[in-house]
Symmetry: C2
Subunit: 233 residues, 2 copies
Amino acid sequence: MKKIIIASTSTVHGSEYLEYIKEELFSFFENTKTIVFIPYARPGGISHDDYTATAAKAFKEMQKEVIGLHTFQDPVKAIQEADAVFTGGGNTFLLVSQLYKNGLMEVLRERVLNGLLYLGTSAGSNITGQTMQTTNDMPIIYPPSFKTLGLVPFNINPHYLDPIEGSTHMGETRETRIKEFHKFNDTVVIGLREGSWLRVDGDEIVLKGKLPARIFKAGEEAFEVPAGEQIKI
Amino acid sequence: MKKIIIASTSTVHGSEYLEYIKEELFSFFENTKTIVFIPYARPGGISHDDYTATAAKAFKEMQKEVIGLHTFQDPVKAIQEADAVFTGGGNTFLLVSQLYKNGLMEVLRERVLNGLLYLGTSAGSNITGQTMQTTNDMPIIYPPSFKTLGLVPFNINPHYLDPIEGSTHMGETRETRIKEFHKFNDTVVIGLREGSWLRVDGDEIVLKGKLPARIFKAGEEAFEVPAGEQIKI
């Protein structure tokens, strides 16, 4: 049975890395000693080592060992043998490029569908969807495809932002962008606000955190799902 | 000699489509009767016809006829024979996909380098750069390449936004995104604020409008160029 946490962000304003979701992670990783960390999204371009150190620090007090996927000679084998995987945020184009380059997309998908524990934040959540086409990131590298893990029957828009009232900026709002996506694609999009996450247990998907999520379906008005409710697509 | 206007946006807050730049356009298109409009970027997913009507309306009082490129049976021939081209904003991924699909990237580049008047706004400005990799748009469609017209020796970031002071949102600022781009690419990036445009006459590139532009070079601190100054890369 698949067991996944899809978090909008790693960090909420004014708190430490992963702190807001610590309790959930503690129970999620209860029977796990070691977590393989996928650092490929490299936020701000930091190194794989530095990024892994950040993740390791957050999990240290939970007595979990975090090992960077980049330190394995054979990353495919590392995923095949992992007990749990955490993919951190950063740039989704870079993350997806590296997953394809290392031949990891299929093996990661297969293993998570068969019960490998998976935690994603931001870009790491984006890739749990059908495609990465609702990322907010800049296309700093050209990936071989926009197709992602397809662990859930929708796409994620992490860091979902409501329109800023009174803004004079003429760039598109997040909602406008997602509506543009739906002119050309049918995949449902979940706008996950910061501090929200989806907990997936098999076919049950529950919205957790304090805020509602915004659901976008092609050709329909967007609507809100309250925290604590199941997501039914 | 190439003659290009690269505008951050079509519209500034509280004014009509292209109104803020009307005077410049009047002199730029002085000897032109007809402008071929490239509506491929389809902002908000509107139709090619509707989008062309918006552009036509703005140019009507300047006594210019605007013809949508989508109405020509042979778009390559239309570009070969055009006196002037205007590419409107919208989604850059869609625009670039359509330009490649219709075999227009090379002919448009060749003709603009040889003097075809070119006006771009937003996505239409993005494609004047070396690549579309500093767009703000959502990847709603997978283009065959991120390479664009390369009419200027840098990339454009249109609708450039300064960090919002006191923001509690954890998504990346525009500057952070451009810095990430520079971890993997060397191309200089010009952050063009709304209401700014570049006027290109041969090798001379002047920043116009009221605001400074922000210049990003890989491995260097970003800096500002004041309005009215030449851009020298």
